[in-house]
């Protein structure tokens, strides 16, 4: 069963080597540029150890990109972050030295490994595509004009160049579109700019960003893109090709999965970046008893401890709260039997009859035992923040999103957060970085954890696990 991998690789090498005219010289021109469109699979054999190490290194880079975008980093901050993480995990040296070639090989190989890991679902593909596009853009902008030209030439992309005659025919229109472009390129006189600039004629769909900003001329469906804006075109090509390749990989994957050496590594890598969805609770269900919930509540994130306290205080929770809290409890390991006990006790003011009629169905429903029989997953932070806004009498939602600044402040002080940290957290919440505010709250209340180890809180159950001392990446990061 594990056989097919080897011959397939052999084949691939042979096929690739057909493209090369001769042996030794080619080894160096394998990677003439630092930039790569990743059109061909890497023609190298690598060890399983390298396989995983490369993948995890690239993941660090992609995760940094995601984090920076989530935190709305400005362009220069973003670049600084990227410079840092690249030098640590994925150096890309210039020139044609042996080291530079090694860098490029690693870049090439690691891209393809992650492709395999991330092609499995629509969501994963979208995530990978987004981060890879950002990475490519960052690298493209680092290159000199000459290196860019060399790279683009190697791609052999057919962008139709507008003839001088055609350009002169629409000179006035091009000029009125080029004011900002010319300025950005450091040329004050727009007429000179248009006259000397090479323009490409492309379908307008290829450059949505330029169309949306009204920064190119569009006529009868064609956009006229100046050379200086070619990054938009390059990104379109990159995105289109990678997106297609990912789908193709997804279709081919079942065959590759047969290699037993790769499968665990890929699954491990895949788990890394999206985090768990906590939907599969089969391995934890039954671990927690109803009577233990109070004791565990010290590990709850603010949203859940708020629901817990409200439940204790009012002996009731409205529907939205029951859903958010009930599924969370399911995620930490409360079985359906224990859940029924827990809620029955919590709703102490209700008669048995009323409880059976109105609530037990709902609890069983959450566990997939009624109605559509869907095994519902605990809500993620995104879902709590974005959907089902709490209204009067509701206690669900995200405290960093749905509390007023005053009540958030009061809650934080009550939980023994120091004044400077309270200010910091409230400010993050005010700037709409709710998950970062929650992360910061976690860091402050868990001083034993090293900051930086925490990542961003994306799921209440992740918070709970981490608070219990389980690091999210701990099992995945060890490669042995």
């Amino acid at each position: 069963m594990s056989k097919p991998m080897q011959p397939k690789h052999q084949n691939r090498f042979n096929r690739t080597s057909l493209y090369k005219p001769t042996g030794e010289v080619v080894r160096h021109s394998e990677y003439p540029c630092r930039l790569n469109f990743y059109l061909r699979p890497p023609p190298v054999e690598i060890s399983v150890e390298d396989f995983e190490r490369f993948a995890l290194d690239r993941l660090q880079v992609l995760k940094t990109i995601e984090n920076a975008t989530l935190r709305n980093k400005k362009a220069d901050e973003f670049r600084r972050e990227m410079d840092r993480v690249s030098s640590e995990h994925m150096r890309m040296r210039t020139g044609h030295t042996k080291e530079a070639m090694e860098d490029r090989k690693k870049d090439h190989v690691s891209h393809f490994i992650l492709r395999l890991a991330y092609c499995r679902s629509e969501d994963l593909r979208a995530w990978f595509l987004r981060q890879e596009c950002a990475l490519f853009r960052y690298r493209f902008e680092l290159e000199s004009r000459k290196d860019k030209e060399v790279f683009l030439k190697s791609l052999d992309i057919n962008w139709k160049v507008v003839s001088q005659e055609d350009k002169m025919n629409m000179k006035a229109e091009l000029e009125s579109c080029a004011i900002w472009t010319a300025k950005a390129a450091g040329i004050q006189n727009v007429k000179d700019f248009v006259e000397n600039e090479t323009y490409f004629e492309v379908e307008f769909e290829k450059v949505p960003d330029l169309i949306g900003r009204r920064s190119v001329l569009v006529r009868r469906g064609k956009a006229f893109v100046p050379m200086t804006e070619q990054i938009s075109l390059v990104m379109d090509e990159f995105k289109a090709r990678l997106s297609k390749a990912l789908e193709a990989t997804a279709k081919a994957l079942p065959r590759m999965d047969e290699d037993e050496r790769l499968k665990p590594v890929l699954l491990n890598v895949e788990k890394q970046y999206t985090g768990k969805d906590y939907g599969d609770v089969t391995n934890v269900t039954g671990k927690v008893k109803a009577s233990e919930v109070d004791g565990l509540s010290q590990h709850f994130p603010l949203c859940m401890s708020n629901l817990h306290q409200s439940l204790r205080k009012d002996k009731h929770l409205k529907h939205g709260g029951r859903m958010q809290y009930g599924l969370f409890l399911k995620g930490i390991g409360l079985s359906v039997e224990e859940a029924l006990v827990f809620w029955r006790k919590a709703f102490g003011n209700h008669t048995d009859d009323k409880f059976q009629k109105e609530y037990s169905y709902n609890i069983r429903h959450n566990y997939g035992l009624e109605g559509r029989r869907v095994n519902y997953a605990p809500y993620s932070c995104m879902k709590i923040i974005q959907s089902n806004q709490p209204s009067t009498g509701d206690h669900h939602g995200c405290p960093f999103r749905h509390f007023s600044a005053q009540s958030l402040e009061a809650t934080l002080y009550k939980n023994k957060v120091g004044a400077p940290q309270v200010n910091e957290i409230v400010r993050l919440a005010k700037d709409r970085h709710y998950q970062l505010a929650c992360t910061r709250y976690f860091e402050v209340t868990h001083p034993e954890m090293q900051s930086g180890q925490v990542g961003t809180i994306e799921h209440p159950n992740q918070y709970f696990d981490m608070s219990q001392g389980k690091l999210p990446d701990s099992d995945a990061m060890t490669t042995d």
């Binding site: 009125s176 769909e205 949505p208 960003d209 006529r219 009868r220 469906g221 169905y361 009624e370």
Partner: protein
Amino acid sequence: MLDVQAHDEISDIMAMDAAEQNFFSDDDMTEVDRDMSKVHLNQATPDRFKTKSFPMAASNFNSKLTSMQAMENDPVILLRTFYNRFFPYKTYFNWLNYDTTPNKNFVQREFSFTLASDTYLRYNSFSDAEELRNEIERLQPVKIDIGAIYTAKPKDKKTINPKAFQPVEKELVFDIDMTDYDEIRTCCSGGDICHKCWGFMTVAIKVIHAALKEDFGFKHILWVYSGRRGVHCWVCDERARKLNNEARSAIVSYLEVVKGGAEMSRKVKLPATLHPSLTRSLDILRQYFLPLVVKDQGVFNDEKSWKKILNIIPDQAVQAKLAERWEGTDASGKSRWDDLRTELEKNEYAKRKTGDKLNLIPRDIIFQYTYPRLDDKVSTNINHLLKSPFCVHPKTQRVCVPINPDTCDQFDPFSVPTLQTLTKELESYNAANTKETDKRMADYDKTSLKEYIGTFELFVDGLLKEALERKRAEASVSMEF
């Protein structure tokens, strides 16, 4: 246990409806539908109604028309007549199918119906025009929405994997609604319109139509009166149908000029050098600004309205100067507009190196007061539903008829046929013409609906012709191999 479960499933459905409602174009239909449902709460269900109380076939319909006069103002019966006799099913099918033999364009297209009982039925789909006709006649929807073409038949949605059910194509659509003009309208507000404000829609059609045609190269653009207070636009070129959401958003943001919420006085801020597309738009706006905005709307006539305009000027001193000149006088709107321009277009402002270029403000005011205001959510999401042409608006009883963009200046929403006028016209035509040839005529040809259906047929002919040419080209290519 059983009834609890049933109840739960109902609440599931209702929750889903609430979540999906924002996919409908906001044409105050919900509110209206509720009115309708109140009125007809005691009516028989459509099914029973069809077989028992209204058994006559279309052929012996004419003779019974007179006896129906008592019922002629009953919207339910009028709507039934409309769906039986006036709705242009065949052309409608050819349009959405983009060919004459059924294919995925039609078969995998979502239709959604709103019933008089205020129920939404989403994800309907039909195999051909006949099936669509039967279902419409059975359900008597007060509103029909058109959605996207999916990877599978929408009616099978529940039985297939959600991943295998994705929207793939849809016309590029635009929704322009008069309520978005309330802050600049002086004559009416909300759902009301009059001849004085309809001009905004005329300008909108002209500006958007020109941009779609000349900038984006689209050829098959259908404009439709929304039945009450706005217009819809359906761009039907194959290229438009295949646009992804990103490209749709890009086009909308390319077209959008008026931005900012209620807390923002100045909603248009354009650079000194306009994009050629906006230069063309401005030429159109200029033709309408004086007659529509200054004269008909009279935005310079009363203090409240002209104060709004002065607030746009980012210079307190200039604002005060003009206010002082205008207060308590009864100068004409035109002369006040001239005052404003003379004041702001002074040379000193144009030469100013820092701060706002005040000389550009009059131009931006023209944009703010005449440029089309789009409801962007309708356009940017391929999933979004939009009310179909040839629906009948339940409140006004007007048919959602196509508008010819070349003659949109003459379009008068108040002369659009209603259910009542159509029935009357048909009746009087049949009374005056009894020849055999008349009997064979399509019913809409006997009424004022004729010209609108003519516009629609011309539009659909263009599409079919192109489809035919493409097929021929493909055939000749494959012959070469």
